[in-house]
Structure formats: C-alpha cells, structure tokens
Amino acid sequence: MTLYICGNSHTRALRAGASLLEQEEGADPMVVFPLGTADNEAEQFSKIENGKVVLTNERFRRKLKQFFGFDNFEPEHRWGICLGNHNARIFRDEGWLDAAPSWLNLKGKAPVSEALFARIVEADQIHIRNFMEQLLQTGVRPFVISAPWPLRTHPAMTETGIAPEIVKAIDTRARVLFAQWLSERRISIVTPPAETADEDGFLLPQFAKGGDDPYHGNNTYGRLMMRRVLQHEAQYAQTRTKVSRSA
C-alpha cells in the first residue's frame, strides 16, 4: 500500500526527509507533498461530497490533484496528514502580552483558565478537526504527523515580545489537547522526536531550517520525523496483519 502524506508547509521537511530515506536506506516509495501554508487551515477547507472527502480550498484542491492525482480521499489509501500542532496561530496573538495561561500562575497577567484555553484551541483547530471527522465518516483511517516544536526565534517572542514560557505553555497544552481529541477518535499521531527539543522544549537550531525562516524544521529534522513515520507505519501494518489473521 502506497503511503500518501499531505499537509501544510511543515510537509516540505517531511518530503525532503522521505527523499533522503529513499536514497540512503532504500525505503519504500512514498508520495509526500504540501498542499499549502497553514493559513489555509484557518477556514473551512473540506467537505463530504458523494460520500468522499473533497477539498474546498482551491489551492489545496489543485495541489491534491497535481501531486497525488486525486480529487478526493479514498478509504483504500493510507493517508498521513501533516496538520495540527502548528500552534503559532494561537501563541502569536498580542493578547498574550497581557494574559497568560492560568496554570503558569503569573502575576500581572490576566489568567486564561484551562477551560477557556481549550476553547481557544478548539476554535483554532476546528477546520482540521472537521476534516479528520469527515475522513473517518467516509471510511478513511488517517494518522497525523505533528508540526515541529516552536522555534525560539519565532517573531511572537523576538518581535512581539511574548514571553517564551507563555509560548511554550500554550504550545505544550495545545498539543496535549489535540492528542486527546485524536485519541478519542482512535487517530494516532507521530510526534517530533524528543532529541530535537532543547531543555525548554523549543526546536534545537540544528533541526531548524534557519536563515530567515523561524517556523520550519530542516531536512535533518524531516529525516528523523519520517523515520518515526515509517516506524509508526510498520507497527500499523503488523497490527493489521494480526487483526486479519485473527479474523
């Protein structure tokens, strides 16, 4: 079964990583392409049409056809979706200059309770969650590939001035909430390797794309992630084999 991986701009590092693994280790071919930037996730981008999930975002739709040759998502294909955990949309809000997650117990900042924060995350992820629900409803069993940890050089901290501990707390909790949501639907997620994070949980510079890009992982990061993806898929294949034998 061919593995298809699509998603936002973090998919580029995965594509580079997949390429390296294919060249260096002879990994099975995979089709890995980004559909567009994460901004496209902030609006509805998918719907169910004639029992199949189609992409309503024009850019996403065009790229799906161009790179994968599909108009929709078929249940017989294995899809890795690199959407979710791109929490910059949440932590870059200037409101965090005056507010902080309540569990940080920061004086002088308006506390944002856990329940309220969960609503913020839910609102941010609503279209991704809808997409995942649609895939499940139409018989597709996707798995999710996480975005990398945030970088210390993100302008939310270096330019806006939001405290790194607030950014980290937001990112960490948002990841937990997304993982819980996925787990409730039995969708697995491939998370970034622990060794790519510094002691505070930010992406280490050697795994960052660098230059003037304070958002993405580099090819090395992509290779590490794709190795985890392949491990995940190997486990998935084993589980499927066991299930089919016992049936």
């Binding site: 809000d93 409101g95 965090w96 507010a99 329940a115």
Partner: protein
Amino acid sequence: MQNPYTTQPPKAFWRSAVSDLSPIEMDGVYTPRFEITPEMRISAAGSCFAQHIARQFRLRGYNFMDFEPAPPMIDAKTADEFSYGHYSARYGNIYSVRQLVQLFERADGRFEPEDKVWETKDRFFDPFRPTIQPGGFATEAECLMERRHHLDQVGQMLKQTDLFVFTFGLTEAWENTRDNAVLPTCPGTHAGTYDPDVYEFKNFRFAEILQDAETFILFAREHNPDMRFLFTVSPVPLTATATDQHVLPATVYSKSVLRAVCGELMMTHDFVDYYPSYELVASHPMRGIFYRTNMRNVASEGVARVMDIFFRAHGAGAPEVKPGKPAKAVSSAHGGDVHCDEEILEMFGS
C-alpha cells in the same frame, strides 16, 4: 379655580398619560435628572436585567468601562459564555446591594469570606460568582487565582467611574451565618452544598437595603466624590421564592421594596437618578405585552423599548451596528439573551 393641579402637564394625569394611550404611545415616563455624556466613565452591575443596560451603553457608543475584558484571542460567543463583557468586571449577577457592598469590601481587602471555593464533582466554583465559568474551574488554585485577578480589577473600578449603574434585582438572598457573606445563588443549586447549619435564607427589608445602598454610595464617593448613580429595578419576577408565600406576592413585595428604596435614594440625593424600567415593563398599564409567555422573561421588544426610551431621553441615537465580521471578544454586545442565575430554580419546582 387655580390649584396646583391646574398647572400640571398632561403626563401628570392618568387619563391623558395612560388610559387614553396604548402602552407603546406613553411618553414622558422618564425625565433625566442629569446629563449622561459620552465622555462619562460608566460602570454597571446588578441583576441579570442589568446586562441589557450595560450592553446598550456599549452599543450606543458611551464610555462603558470594562475592567476585566475578555482575552482578545477568544471569540465573542465564547466571551459571552464565560461571562466576559456582561458588566464592568466579571462578577456575574449581583442581586442584592449587600452583595455589591461586600464585593467592594472584598476587593478592598476589608472582608475575606469564609466560603473560599466550592468543589463539585472535581470542579471548582467561586461561591460569589458560581456561574461565570461554564463547568467550573479545573483546580482550586485556578479558581483562587482567577478570583485574585478579578478582585484586583474590581478594586480599580470606583476611582475610574463617573456614573455607576445598578439594577436592583431581589430582596431574597442566601447568606453564610458565620460571616454574613451574601451569595448570589443558593448553595446546592448551581454549585456548593446546602448546609442549613451554615447557610440561611435572608429576605432583606426596606431599612436594610436602604442602609446598604447608602453605605455603597458613601464608599463609592470616597473614591470619586463626583460620582453619580443611576438606579433601576429589574422587571423580572422571582423564579422561585424561599418564603412561605405564593411567588406572586413574594415578587410584589420584593419589587415594591426595591422600588421604594430607589425612590428614597433619589429623594435624598441629587446625584441619584432612577430609571423606571420596572414600570415600563411590569406595571399593569403595559398589560404584560413585553413579557414572554411565561410572564417572567422580558421579550426583546420590551427590552428594546425600555432602552430606546432611556436613550432617547438622553438624546442618544440608535445602537451602533458595525458592518462586517464581528470583532473578537467584544463581549456580549452581539449576544441576545441575558444570563440569569436564578432560572435554575425552576428545576426544583414540581
């Protein structure tokens, strides 16, 4: 023959002012005692009907103060659900003046009630605003932290307020007998546990409410000697009474006492105005047309009329409706209904 009535205007006579007119034709019901300018810093509190008043001040471009605004990263619907923007801080509904006085005493550090946090099913509630956070807080620490922040904001309010608007809601309340802390809801309804050895029903009387209002006025004017007050009485009847009376006479008692207190305050102080929202909705010439079918909830037409009369009397225009996408976290200004804590009591009726 000359006598004082011969010079009275038509509004002073029942026939010309009331019985010859339909309820919606009635005019001159309210004459402002003082001007409310767009620059005046306005703060508001009170029973749930006060949410309408706060909302309208905001919508009509007045300088309505919000000392505890919603974090800007949440949308307006969520902000409303989490009780942001209902009043000038996130204190929820304040049904009695005693509760109002104690709120500012708490903010001032002069009163620390025995009731700290109520725990119900592993969730944590602020006894003095148990409904502001849907489902309660995740931890006791979070609840306490949110309250500290809340009281800090309330502590800023009075010195930055030129007009304080308060809607009197109920005479009936529940208090902790150990320290006389007045609660907005009965323990065991929204949250908490009702213990008859700790909590006691209190039906405030005229003299008590008047004294509490005078205490509040004095305290508020210590912070701003020029502060003015606009008082109203909520036309929303009791959902349930804890007295042994029928809920109708219990309601009439409650509203009558509150209305009388407002009259007394207005006659005593030239910096107090009373707006007859109660009369404009609940009095018998209105024939109940502004209530919904349960004769309790005020219909949106009723609210609109009450507010239009008030703001027309103050020479203000229609509410400002901004085109396009609503901004995030602009409070309940875009919401419809108000949030009334006491409505849960209907669940306990047979």
